[in-house]
């Protein structure tokens, strides 16, 4: 029992560092995107009162990466948001590995199930 507890504690410290890194990186990328976006569109008029849905290149993972490489401010922001969404996904992946090291196969299975749902949402469903 106590060896498990210590294992869990160590895992959680690593998980904490992972989350902090992910959020910091995401916020930094979003901020850079904001600078580009303001420089180009800062004086434009915002309009979110009517829902039109974002264009294709800001909706799919490949479109966002492509746009960010082309230095589009909105695409860089979106890339930062993708990194943010990926942070909890990375934490779930890490937990699966940690449970596998502990040979807790019931929880490897449970964790992979959660991971599958997240990956479906991010890539599977019309991504």
């Amino acid at each position: 029992m106590s060896t498990h507890d210590w294992g869990d504690q160590r895992i959680e410290i690593i998980v904490g560092a992972l989350l902090r890194t992910g959020v910091t990186l995401a916020a930094a990328v979003v901020f850079c995107g904001a600078v580009v976006y303001f420089a180009r569109h800062g004086t434009g008029v915002p309009n979110y009162a009517v829902f039109r849905g974002e264009p294709e290149n800001l909706k799919s993972v490949s479109g966002i990466v492509h746009g960010a490489l082309g230095m589009s401010g909105q695409a860089i922001i979106q890339l930062g948001l993708l990194l943010l969404i990926a942070t909890p996904v990375a934490r779930v992946l890490f937990s699966a590995i940690a449970f596998a090291i502990e040979r807790d196969y019931l929880y490897v299975l449970i964790t992979l199930l959660v991971l599958g749902i997240l990956l479906y949402s991010l890539f599977g469903a019309g991504g």
Partner: protein, 277 residues
């Protein structure tokens, strides 16, 4: 109002929401959507997308601070996440087919409920007999108390699991963390000690929100120009709030924030019924 001014105003509002949300433990996400929809006349679908993103940011940011204390139970979290993530997908599915007005009404009711729930406190059942299901799932654990390790047993697994599905569905439908429902499921149904349930719930919120955020992104609900000030503002506000929390007397603030939530709740219901959202 140009893009720069609009972003600055929304960033400031989000900062305040994140600050008060962290200070009172109610979460900032719950006021972001009403703020955007009622104050800035943003379409509720864009508001939900932006709010979800900020929920992931605060959850991950706060979790990084929490994990060092060793209260959260990673097995309880992961097991219940199978319910919240499936619930989140269901919530998004519902959101795609119901009208904005219906979403606003549900949102208002949830606001009123979370204000009510936050005004009550429960005593946890510290030394319960272990339940078979909890034992098989290895959910029982221990946390560092004042007199060394305090172990606890978990009960009511099916009820807690069901409530978690509802929490996930509300998170996906409304773009909020559903922290109130998650803590309710763990405190009341599963009798998990308060310290463990709050930290574990915070841990789960990010994963739950990530499950619906991907789907919303692909459907064009996440507008970068709007999500950017909301995410940065709420994140900064919640980090400041978490620091101030150690020193502040939050009781008065809690009531104040709960009052704001109640007012926003009625406003959302009213706007939803009269079809002006």
């Amino acid at each position: 109002m140009n893009v720069l001014e609009f972003s600055a105003l929304i960033g400031l509002g989000s900062l305040l929401a994140g600050f008060l949300g962290a200070l009172t433990g109610l979460g900032g996400g719950v006021v972001v959507v009403p703020m955007l929809a009622l104050l800035f006349h943003v379409d509720i679908r864009y508001a939900i997308g932006a709010s979800l993103v900020s929920v992931i940011a605060t959850s991950s940011g706060a979790a990084a601070a929490y994990v060092r204390e060793g209260y959260s139970n990673i097995r309880i979290g992961m097991f219940l996440e199978t319910a919240t993530t499936v619930g989140a997908l269901a919530g998004v599915g519902i959101a795609l087919y119901v009208s904005s007005n219906a979403i606003a009404i549900v949102f208002g009711v949830v606001l009123l409920c979370s204000a009510y729930l936050s005004s009550r406190h429960y005593v946890d059942g510290a030394h319960l007999p272990p339940s078979k299901l909890a034992q098989r799932l290895r959910l029982n654990g221990a946390y560092p108390g004042p007199n060394g390790k305090e172990s606890y047993n978990v009960t009511g697994v099916p009820a807690g699991y069901g409530l978690m599905f509802v929490a996930g569905a509300l998170s996906g439908l409304l773009g909020i963390g559903s922290g109130a429902v998650k803590v309710l499921a763990m405190d009341r149904a599963m009798k998990i000690p308060f310290k463990v349930s709050t930290t574990t719930s915070n841990f789960m919120i990010g994963v739950t929100a990530a499950a619906s955020a991907g789907l919303y992104l692909h459907r064009g609900y996440i507008a970068p120009g709007l999500a950017m000030p909301v995410m940065l503002g709420v994140l900064a506000g919640s980090l400041i709030g978490a620091r101030v929390l150690m020193r502040a007397r939050v009781k008065v603030l809690r009531y104040l924030f709960a009052t704001v939530i109640v007012v926003l709740g009625f406003e959302m219901i009213y706007k939803g019924i009269t079809g002006r959202i």
